[in-house]
């Protein structure tokens, strides 16, 4: 058996933002045993998967473990991936499962995703102020990242995880529902509340005159 050629820490990580057109080719090559093709997929998605597991678990150690387990499981079950969805969507679903297991283990009293969300809550926004100049122009990238991490960490997990999958990972409503084993109306309800709560939290930073 030849040793795998995986470079422990390649210095040429690919940008992780875009799902590239070569993904199906890389997956096919990886399924055929090409380790370097799987390496390329790992390099491409490791940052996004870590952000996903970090946002779900809110714990760095759990996030790292969940990310590792997600990539290992993806590799082990690659033969079962039939290409009915994007590889990245499949990987996200594995990572979500790993991260949720960590979250529930550490915080057993956390609101279950299956729980009914109180729909009696008044969702009409109370703070209605325009934001003025674009937040991206007003804040340095690092500062903006810290603000986004802070406000999303303050969100109830039931809203945070749906927002993460739907608006950050760009899964469809149906894919999000399937990944979280929720109904489509439940995803829509949580998404609306999550978006409105985040908007309200960001208001303190982005409203006109709020820049420090």
């Amino acid at each position: 058996m030849s040793s795998p050629k995986l470079d422990p820490v390649p210095s040429h990580a690919l940008p992780s933002q875009v799902v590239k057109a070569d993904e199906p080719i890389l997956v096919a090559q990886a399924k055929a045993g090409d380790v370097s093709a799987f390496e390329t997929l790992v390099n491409r998605y490791e940052r996004k998967i870590f952000r996903l597991t970090q946002n779900i678990t809110q714990n760095r150690e759990d996030a790292e473990d969940a990310m590792q387990e997600a990539f290992l499981k993806a590799y082990e079950h690659l033969g079962e991936f039939e290409g009915n969805s994007r590889f990245y969507t499949w990987l996200v679903r594995i990572a979500v499962n790993q991260a949720l297991m960590k979250l529930r283990r550490r915080r057993p009293n956390v609101v279950s995703l299956d729980d009914e969300i109180d729909t009696g809550e008044d969702i009409i926004p109370r703070e209605v102020e325009d934001w003025g100049p674009s937040p991206i122009e007003r804040y340095e990238q690092t500062e903006l990242s810290e603000i986004l991490s802070k406000v999303i960490s303050e969100l109830d997990p039931a809203f945070r995880i749906v927002f993460q999958l739907r608006d950050i990972e760009q899964l469809s409503t149906e894919e999000t529902a399937e990944a979280l084993r929720l109904s489509v109306p439940a995803v829509k309800s949580r998404l609306l509340r999550g978006r409105l709560k985040l908007r309200q939290k960001l208001n303190q930073y982005f409203r006109q005159g709020a820049k420090l």
């Binding site: 790992v42 870590f50 290992l72 950050i168 998404l191």
Partner: protein
């Protein structure tokens, strides 16, 4: 259409998942209601900011541990 009706449909409106009649009703309301326009605009900005945010690079130790774990697993593959 009232403001609370706009808010209830906001997610589908922003996702362009509404039927044309309902969409037109919302847009008619938005034309006359500054508060709702602000809510729609700032909610859209909220989504855009998160959607366009780049994930931070992994720290070198985290990356090293991930790749070492993968190498260990890949060596077991027949």
């Amino acid at each position: 259409m009232k403001c609370k009706d706009v808010v209830k449909e906001l997610a589908d409106y922003l996702d362009e998942a509404l039927d044309p009649t309902l969409r037109m009703s919302i847009e008619e309301h938005l034309g006359n209601c500054k508060d709702c326009r602000v809510v729609v605009d700032t909610t859209k900005q909220t989504i855009d900011i998160f959607c366009n945010s780049e994930p931070a690079p992994l720290s070198e130790p985290t990356r090293e541990r991930l790749h070492q774990a993968l190498i260990k697993r890949l060596r077991r593959r027949p």
